[in-house]
Symmetry: C2
Subunit: 228 residues, 2 copies
DNA sequence: CGATCAATTGATAGAGGTCAAGACGCGTGG
DNA sequence: CCACGCGTCTTGACCTCTATCAATTGATCG
């Protein structure tokens, strides 16, 4: 990505050793001082945020190749507790060293900004979904695409999280997840065995998701003046 | 913010002239090539995203002092169309020049990263809300706090957007907004005249919002191992 | 082989969406 | 200055979707 060998050496130096974890192991706790950014190398993690009233909400799941902790830069402390869902490997970057280095390496700075911007987009992705089916279809499709982007199969995946976790994340009841998954199977869109999912009709899955970020449409939103 | 006078001069140079706009005027269109970041100086803007099926969704409202366009860094094009809701003033920064400069000014780089990180947090804020009342109370409280942080009154505000816009943004029906606002007035939390809102009981408003990012709780989320 | 936890299935009730009608403001023009 | 028309907002009646409660099945593990 436009970084020469010498720079790459410096970058490697600030990456600490890989860290092997197992189900339930914690990466960082909500409220802890922000220091490091983490990259998932294998497995899966979930991020859980506890609100003022003690309710837990799963803010996201993290797949191999994805970064965790970028949202902690601003408040300078982690806003959630991140936990391994299965046996996983992650590596860590010291943030202070990373920014120092990025001041010297323009390509690194660009990449860092892009990664942050990407997370803003991801965070906004699921606001559109209306019905429970759209949410769930969108969730599965999103997982699928993220795996696919990392070189995994684009037609099947293993849910490392429980139905309850999915329900919590999407803001619905676990029973509804169960019913809808069955319904998607009946429709011939998915084939489900326990936590293993095979996608039979990816086009229909995307269609059921309802929307999913249609890009580059130069349409005029309501109440906007056409600039002439 | 730790930038000396000489640097400040360079920064000022890349800010183009202020731009006055009126209701319905467009800042940028969805799909247009990303080039500039915008800062709202007065008034209010809304960002509208059109999905693949032509449905419009209002992704956010932008108040004085806030930046618009940071989410476009990664995809290199704007992901929404941003429109003035009322007479407004904004200024613009060329992104390429901004990043060049930030490589020279560490404090600017830090600030830029913080701003992006902040947006990730903002985007995640509203996932927790369950009921329509929580969503609406959270929305009003959020607006209030954002105004307050910029030196505006912390007890009253003017909604520049229609009930329909609020409904669209929160993913509910305009009728429900109307009913709930009335209900909040009956409860003695708000006093509403047209689009002017006076907050009578801010504590209760926050309480009704249900959650709102409780910070720094070292609680153990379910299914996590206690590191001893 | 029980014990435990996850997942499914069924019955019920309530929150909120939808449809339809009416009220209120506000600008325009006679 | 008032009447009209249009858009925004409100109010009411109804009905669907999904949460909730409860019970059962299925899988995993000591």
């Amino acid at each position: 990505m436009g970084i020469d060998r010498d720079d790459l050496k410096k970058l490697e130096d600030l990456i600490r050793n890989d860290h092997v974890q197992h189900e339930g192991d914690i990466v960082f706790r909500q409220g802890a001082a922000f220091e490091k950014i983490y990259a998932v190398k294998s497995g899966m993690y979930k991020s859980v945020k506890v609100d003022a009233e003690g309710h837990e909400h799963i803010t996201g799941f993290h797949l191999p190749g994805e970064l965790v902790g970028l949202d902690a830069i601003y408040p300078k402390k982690y806003g959630n507790t991140t936990v391994a869902l299965t046996s996983s490997v992650l590596c860590q970057f010291n943030y202070a060293q990373l920014t120092d280095l990025s001041a010297q390496i323009p390509a690194l700075q660009q990449q860092l900004l892009r990664l942050l911007s990407k997370d803003i987009n991801n965070a906004n992705l699921f606001f559109t979904e209306q019905t429970a089916e759209q949410k769930l279809a969108g969730f599965v499709h999103n997982l699928l695409k993220r795996y696919e982007a990392r070189g995994y199969s684009g037609s099947e995946l293993i849910l490392q999280m429980s139905r309850q976790d999915i329900a919590n994340h999407l803001g619905m009841a676990a029973e509804t997840i169960s019913r809808l998954l069955k319904q998607l199977q009946t429709k011939g869109v998915l084939q489900i065995v326990r936590r293993e999912i095979k996608i039979l009709d990816q086009v229909e899955l995307l269609h059921l998701a309802g929307c999913k970020a249609g890009d580059e449409q130069p349409i005029n939103p309501l109440n906007s003046n056409v600039s002439t």
